[in-house]
């Protein structure tokens, strides 16, 4: 298959839905072998199936990003199936429940920290030997959020863990740069089940989010976010590292 990612293998965590699914489709369209790493087979298998029906190559591997054992098995299975691993995308996240910092419970913290930060730790560390082998094709891409830069009033702990991912992006870009590996983050605003849920709880929020965006619309996971991920994963993005690409239709402009 031709395309900007032809012959390269990518793991996309949380690819059963939302932004992860959009990126998985965009990668497959550019010729990548895509590992749909989803927590539940009920979302992961149909996602992989849909990619194959569209002519792409995909395998679902049920993965819990908060478990070292599970993430290790995912990486091993990907490499066994496709022979190498060039691209790791950590997108999986759970825990965006609104809260007040003064009385939030540690259970909310553990969800946020586990999926976003421990998930980054495991996916980065376990992919590293393979990304190093891929040299200049090696890519780590983390999905963060504008909230991780500006701090969001309704979700302080989400803001914290998304900020942590931005710092990890920068530090790892420095640590792994000598191997040729690039490390970047994408901070999207896109139509996902998570955002739909937030809008359902708070209808005014949708209007505010749309009104704040220069483009007056909320992003499409495949077209708007997937395209940016493809750029970063491809040779075209080879000299971009340590960066956060804010991909939100022109909402947050503080960088």
């Amino acid at each position: 298959m031709s395309g900007r990612l032809a012959g390269r293998t990518a793991i996309v965590t949380g690819a059963g839905q939302g932004v992860g699914l959009g990126i998985a489709h965009a990668f497959a369209k550019e010729g990548a072998n895509v590992v749909v790493a989803a927590r539940r087979a009920e979302t992961g298998e149909p996602a992989a199936q849909e990619i194959r029906e569209r002519g792409g190559e995909a395998t679902c591997i049920v993965t819990d990003v908060t478990s070292r054992t599970s993430m290790k098995a995912c990486v091993a299975a990907a490499v066994k199936r496709y022979g190498a691993l060039e691209i790791m995308v950590h997108n999986a996240f759970r825990g965006g429940t609104p809260h007040r910092i003064e009385d939030v419970g540690l259970d909310v913290w553990e969800e946020n920290s586990g999926t976003a930060v421990w998930g980054t730790f495991y996916s980065a560390q376990l992919a590293f030997p393979h990304l190093r082998d891929a040299g200049a094709n090696g890519r780590l891409i983390l999905l963060t959020s504008p909230a991780g830069i500006e701090g969001s009033v309704n979700i302080p702990l989400y803001s914290a863990v998304k900020a942590a991912q931005r710092a990890m992006t920068k530090s790892l870009s420095k640590e792994w740069g000598p191997h040729g590996i690039t490390v970047n983050a994408i901070a999207p605003v896109a139509e996902t089940p998570a955002l739909a849920g937030a809008f359902a709880q708070n209808p005014v929020l949708k209007e505010r989010v749309e009104a704040r965006a220069s483009l007056r619309r909320i992003g499409d996971p495949e077209r708007d976010i997937g395209g940016v991920a493809v750029f970063l994963a491809s040779d075209d993005g080879g000299y971009v590292t340590g960066q956060t690409i804010v991909c939100d239709g022109g909402s947050f402009m503080g960088l």
Binding site: S113, V117, G151, V153, A167, L172, E175
Partner: protein, 248 residues
């Protein structure tokens, strides 16, 4: 001698480390009375050092892994000195400053840096809120510029600092109506025992010559933010690095 913090009560962490020590002395010399929270090791000598600098100080031992001991410590300070007006969080676990490739970091180390630093921060915020609710307050975090520049072999530490810095922004948005301001002071990497120099993040040396002295150069920034004069600044990160990072 400025006395802009006369009568104010400050809870401080990390006063046994260089940045925290200097900033605490500055708050104390501006008139604040200090409740010094820390682990048992070195607590007594740090309290003695503050007292010898004529800073009225109460030392309280805490176990940072226990939310209860942090809450109790705030109560103890409030009982001994009065309701808490200021929190200065400068403590860093020493393990966080030991450089290591991420590939070699095990779960216990990641836990001891990332989870410990963030849980401590959450515990401090949750203990501070009842003290400040309805009467205002000042929260200051020390967030070295390495969290914004990134640093190889310090991934867990930079992650934790950046998370603290942005958690503070979100909290500033929540607590503004209570009259509570929260701000970060961002010192240069030279103040940390990580063997990192400012020249790794900037082609030019610090505009003001060096990374500064924690008490003399950074202290007045903390005093300003903690004082009435700083009342309209919140959610901000104040570069206190002598002109290196300069972002945004």
């Amino acid at each position: 001698m400025s006395d802009v913090l006369n009568g104010r009560i400050a809870v401080v962490t990390g006063a046994n480390q260089p940045l925290g020590r200097g900033l605490t002395l500055a708050l104390g010399r501006a008139g604040a009375r200090v409740g010094l929270l820390g682990e048992a090791v070195g607590l007594e000598s740090t309290v003695a050092e503050m007292e010898s600098a004529l800073v009225r100080t109460v030392g309280i031992e805490v176990d940072w892994s226990s939310q209860e001991t942090v809450e109790d410590a705030f109560e103890t300070v409030a009982d001994a000195l009065g309701p808490v007006d200021i929190v200065l969080h400068a403590a860093v676990p020493e393990i966080a400053l030991e450089p290591m490739d991420l590939v070699d970091v095990d779960d216990a180390r990641f836990e001891a840096i990332w989870e410990r630093m963030l849980r401590t921060t959450i515990f401090l915020l949750q203990a501070a809120f009842p003290q400040m609710q309805g009467r205002g307050g000042r929260v200051l975090f020390v967030t070295p510029t390495v969290s914004m520049s990134g640093a190889a072999r310090l991934t867990p530490y930079t992650a934790a600092v950046e998370a603290q810095r942005v958690l503070l922004k979100a909290t500033a948005r929540q607590w503004g109506p209570e009259g509570i301001t929260l701000n970060s002071i961002a010192p240069a990497p030279e103040h940390l025992s990580i063997g990192m120099s400012s020249t790794e993040v900037s082609l030019a040396p610090p505009a003001l010559g060096d990374a500064g002295d924690p008490e003399v150069d950074l202290g007045p920034i903390a005093v300003f933010l903690a004082s009435d004069a700083g009342h309209f600044v919140t959610g901000a990160t104040i570069g206190a690095d002598g002109g290196i990072w300069m972002a945004p």
